[in-house]
Subunit: 256 residues, 2 copies
């Protein structure tokens, strides 16, 4: 068996320290193919580009290490990589390391996770990594051995084939990380408060500035694990059906 | 008790026939507040605008009927409406009617559904409506009585409070619609095939043109119901945790 092919992308753009660190962490675990957005794409959710064409730009190409940038969103990057760039079907797709949390409901807004979800939709095992620190100078090194372990364990597990994992990493020193916890997504939301301003022509405009509210006391949640300095892993489904609500709906007479 | 407040948005833009029809269909069921994107936002997924400010534009304002446009995405429109526009908490959020299907995995890419999901994240009951016809001249009228029935039944159900529904409507004559089916999301994916072209400067560019592949033979799926000329309702969760995979992950020794 040859080396595994690892496709890497992110939403902060190809030049972000997060993807540079991730690539360095897994460099020796397989052949590496990077297709990352040329510009930051945070909060893009699962957007795809349908009304304008996409561009690819080759930065490096060798047998074991290829790097492209792509003009679109993280989901575009995965689609384009799978159709036009990879020499064979990737064994795993890694997205990140995101500069900032994608725990709890943030998975819904996350460009990082949209790339992983896109991979999983094509049946390819995928992991999104996020560090709870938004800054450019965040320290990714404490996560190194955990990320390597998660990638290797996932590659080696037949049962995890095609699954999608959302991994969040607390922003603490390496000796403060207490381990890895398997979690469910915490129930939370953003309470929005737009900052209303006036432009020089006296017209109003609004900046989004929500406040994250965790409404879940469960000790099995990602938010709880992260608060206790654990790395959280939440497996993510691409079946959005809320099966319990089907039963409620079936009791309703729509009376048409 | 006063009239219910119905917040309406979409992803095709305020001027699309789909939202005009939806508004007309439910006009007498409550007070109406429309906050819709000023420009089409298809395939935006759950994108939100964080790096540029948003604008609101008032088109109409009266006690029972208010209409604004918003410069952002469908998720932005809901956030901004809830914080800056609505006179009280909406009783329901309606999104659509989308020009084109949002059945199966399309829910993941859908701007229409992102608006409904955003509402549900704030605890407000929300329904996204989509007609299986992409054209501007699509005929929304056959869906009229079904949409009214679904909105009324949902407003009247305590158990459906805060839930999110994905409603898809077959593109057939009214006498061909066989009723409403409660479904699960079909397992399907898009097989991407980018159209590769050369620009006048001999540089490659790519148009996304995927082919939708339904891989699910289940008769309880939205795809099956729609193929049989039923209107499909899939309840949508905002908890993306794949609980069954937590058990697999708990058996893995990460060996850090």
């Amino acid at each position: 068996m040859g080396k595994p092919l690892i496709l890497i992308t992110n939403d902060d753009g190809f030049n972000a320290p997060g993807i540079k660190n991730l690539t360095e962490f897994v460099r020796d675990l397989g052949d590496i193919c990077i297709v990352a957005p040329e510009r930051p794409q945070s909060a893009m959710g699962h957007a795809v580009t349908i009304s304008s064409p996409l561009r690819l730009k080759k930065l490096t190409e060798s047998e074991s290490f290829t790097e492209y940038t792509c003009s679109g969103t993280p989901a575009d990057a995965v689609k384009l990589a799978l159709d036009k760039v990879v020499p064979r079907r990737p064994d795993i797709i890694l997205s990140g390391i995101n500069h900032g949390a994608n725990s709890s409901v943030n998975v819904i807004y996350s460009g990082t996770m949209s790339a992983a979800i896109e991979g999983s939709m094509s049946g390819i095992t995928a992991i999104g990594f996020s560090l709870l620190n938004f800054s450019h100078d965040a320290n990714f090194l404490p996560a190194r051995k955990y990320i390597r372990s998660i990638v290797l364990s996932t590659l080696n597990s037949v049962e995890l084939s095609g699954k999608c994992l959302n991994v969040n990493i607390p922003d603490v020193r390496e000796d403060e990380i207490r381990g890895i916890k398997i979690c469910r997504q915490a129930k939370a939301n953003w309470e929005e408060e737009f900052d209303e301003r006036l432009d020089p022509h006296n017209n109003k405009y609004y900046w989004l500035k929500g406040v994250f509210k965790n409404k879940d006391n469960g000790k099995d949640t990602d938010e709880y694990a992260l608060s206790q300095n654990y790395i959280s892993i939440v497996p993510i489904t691409i079946d959005f059906t809320e099966h319990s609500t089907k039963e409620i709906l079936n009791t309703i007479n729509f009376n048409v």
